[in-house]
């Protein structure tokens, strides 16, 4: 078992007092960010990224991963106590979490959410550990053609599985790709898209600027518009007796939780799917297979456990393609990828060979993050109840200041702060008009890789465009990509045909 010895080495890194401290700070920050309505893991990572310059790069990534993790736990807190999902990933938790809180079982619901998150997280981290090295080995044989095909596949999953308007998804992908080309052309070195020779654009548009703009400023603008009245916080107290009873109750839900973990892990790996649909699917399956399915939606503990295991498992699942292939499985992991590239830790199979200490340190830190998150989560429940009473305007003001200062810090150019402002307002308007933001951020992060691998392949093959389908792996990816791409059009065609036959059909919108 080579994996075990690598993992043991990893624990030597992640269990060092400093990294342990980092993990605890990270999950605590993540829990609060996740618990705040309107802020989820992606917003947290975007806002906190500029602040992580304070620690060494490898610890910074561990910190960001811990925030990601903590936010997944935290999302459930406001779903249960406020009835508003703390992050979109915790939407399904409101279905049964809120009714439980209204019945006076808020404490039990919070324990269930924490324990379920822990189970989902742990099972998926074990799967992650098993899959990481083999997947990285396969990825080692990838040439530029495979890289291009894989990125293309990642984008087409948004069109096929994203559930958003396909035209708008394509627009956002292409906008992200076009924005990623701003700056110097990586092959000829000529400046392009610098918009009338503006010096600020020579260095390109940083993913961080787009992320802080859309997920920081834009998100706050969106929340200002949509939250007119302050929601009511349900009180929750936890006693040891309740904790014991909760654990006992959870012990009978192994089937639901393991199903949710597996589902979450594999759905989370897909770039377009991720934690929110995974949680909704897990809820749906739990409801169908449960013996007490009639009480779902009225405060069934199983309805809390199922989505919470799945969304945590999905967050781990989305780390897998990011770390092994360099293709992020979610917007948050896209930001992690951008951060790693910024610090010179380029994700992908080579990272497993060149920086095994870092890779396995990060993987093992996911185990410690899980333990830390469940402990901090249950211990701090009274603090969450208090924090959720904080007036929303205070949070908004502080986040907006952080967006401005944090946006300035990495490049120290006012140009970037203005870009953040533009992306914030633009992102808010696009989001209002149902344009998905995740493909935009992913495209900006993956754009340079996509263009580079495309042009490298063509240069190596003397301009032979068929090179992409002559290699078996690359051809498979391209084939899958085409399948995903035409899927929504096929669906539209079939439903259109049905409508003409007066058969009503409705596709549920997953967002």
């Amino acid at each position: 078992m080579e994996v075990l010895s690598l993992l043991a080495d990893g624990f030597a890194t992640s269990l060092s007092p400093f990294n342990l401290f980092i993990v605890i700070i990270g999950v605590t920050a993540g829990l609060f960010i996740g618990a705040m309505p309107g802020l989820g893991s992606v917003n947290g990572v975007a806002i906190v990224l500029p602040l992580t310059f304070i620690v060494p790069p490898s610890s910074a990534i561990i910190l960001l991963a811990a925030i990601y993790y903590g936010a997944m736990y935290g999302g459930a807190v406001s779903s249960i106590l406020l009835g508003i999902p703390g992050a979109s990933t915790a939407v399904a938790t409101t279905f049964d979490g809120r009714p439980m809180a209204q019945k006076g079982q808020a404490g039990l619901a919070l324990i269930a959410a924490a324990v379920a998150s822990f189970v989902g997280g742990t099972i998926s981290v074990i799967l992650f550990t098993l899959f990481a090295a083999p997947l990285a080995d396969i990825a080692l044989s990838f040439g530029p053609a495979e890289e291009f095909a894989l990125v293309l596949l990642a984008f087409t999953t948004f069109v096929g599985l994203g559930g958003d308007d396909s035209l708008k998804t394509i627009i956002m992908i292409c906008l992200g790709l076009a924005l990623s080309t701003v700056g110097l052309d990586l092959i000829s070195g000529q400046p392009r898209l610098i918009f009338g020779d503006m010096p600020g654009f020579y260095s390109g548009i940083s993913f961080l600027v787009l992320a802080i703009g859309t997920y920081g400023l834009g998100e706050i603008l969106y929340t200002i518009e949509t939250s007119k009245t302050a929601p009511k916080v349900t009180n929750a107290r936890i006693t040891f007796a309740e904790l014991g009873a909760g654990l006992k109750r959870m012990n009978s839900l192994w089937k639901t939780m393991s199903l949710g973990s597996l589902l979450g892990f594999f759905v989370g790996m897909l770039p377009a799917a991720g934690a929110t649909p995974a949680a909704l699917m897990s809820y749906g399956i739990a409801k169908q297979t449960s013996k007490t399915s009639d009480t779902f939606g009225k405060g069934n503990i199983e309805g809390v456990a199922a989505p919470e295991t799945a969304n945590n498992a999905a967050s781990t699942g989305s780390l897998l393609p990011m770390l092994t292939l360099g293709i992020p499985g979610s917007p948050t992991t896209a930001l992690l990828l951008g951060g790693m590239v910024m610090w010179g830790l380029v994700p992908g199979p080579m990272l497993f060979i060149e920086q095994p200490d870092f890779v396995w340190g990060l993987i093992s830190s996911l185990y410690t993050a899980n333990f830390a998150a469940v402990a901090v989560n249950i211990a701090l429940i009274p603090v969450f109840v208090w924090a959720l009473r904080m007036p929303f305007t205070v949070l908004c003001a502080l986040v907006l200041v952080l967006c401005i200062v944090g946006g300035f810090a990495p490049s120290q150019k006012m140009h970037d702060v203005w870009l953040i402002f533009a992306f914030g307002v633009g992102g808010y308007l696009l989001r209002k008009a149902d344009y998905p933001l995740a493909p935009l951020v992913l495209a900006l992060v993956l754009g340079p890789l996509m263009e580079k691998s495309f042009r490298q392949t063509l240069i190596a093959e003397q301009g032979n465009i068929l090179a992409f389908v002559e290699r078996p792996l690359s051809a498979t990816f391209i084939g899958l990509a085409i399948l995903f791409f035409v899927m929504p059009f096929l669906v539209a065609f079939v439903t259109g045909a049905k409508e003409r036959l007066h058969v009503p059909s409705k596709r549920p919108k997953i967002n």
Binding site: I171, I224, E225, F408, M414, A433
Partner: protein, 161 residues
């Protein structure tokens, strides 16, 4: 539905603008080195945006199944106020300095916009710049623009650098 078309129209203009800049570099097939030229990627991506956005504008309303969005009219006023306040704050940073612009913004947001108590508004207005200074300037050595207030920071620089 009109707003949807307006936003798609803005995307058409944006993509046309990006295309006009992309054509400064070769956008076609570069026969000698193989593969497309430097302007190809931005050009063709922008063209796809343009085509899709035109489709969004002209497709029949019935085929559009996503939620029809509206702006909350009551919140539009406050929202525009916040956007203007952020723009003023960013504009003030290079001239009046971050340590004037940010407290001003916080005070406006908390006291005038948020109508919080004096204690809360003033304590956050005063404490935030101090935390920002110690985090970014004293620890990370990232200097924020000070504008005309620069001379007031010389004694502090002497203390921390």
């Amino acid at each position: 539905m009109l707003l949807d078309k307006v936003i798609a129209g803005a995307l058409v203009l944006l993509s046309a603008y990006m295309m006009s800049h992309a054509i400064l570099l070769p956008i076609g097939w570069n026969g000698e080195t193989g593969g497309p030229g430097g302007g190809a990627f931005p050009f063709w991506c922008s063209l796809i945006i343009l085509i899709c956005a035109v489709f969004v504008i002209f497709r029949p309303a019935r085929s559009y199944e996503a939620d029809q969005f509206t702006f909350d009219r009551e919140m539009m006023g406050p929202l525009i106020q916040v956007i203007i306040a952020i723009a003023i704050t960013i504009a003030l940073i290079p001239t009046a300095g971050a340590y004037v612009a940010i407290p001003l913004f916080l005070f406006w947001y908390l006291k005038i916009y948020g109508k919080h108590s004096w204690t809360l508004a003033l304590s956050i207005t005063v404490l935030t710049p101090i935390v920002v200074f110690f985090f970014f300037e004293a620890t990370l050595k990232i200097l924020l623009p000070k504008g005309v207030t620069e001379p007031f920071f010389f004694p502090l620089y002497a203390m921390f650098f």
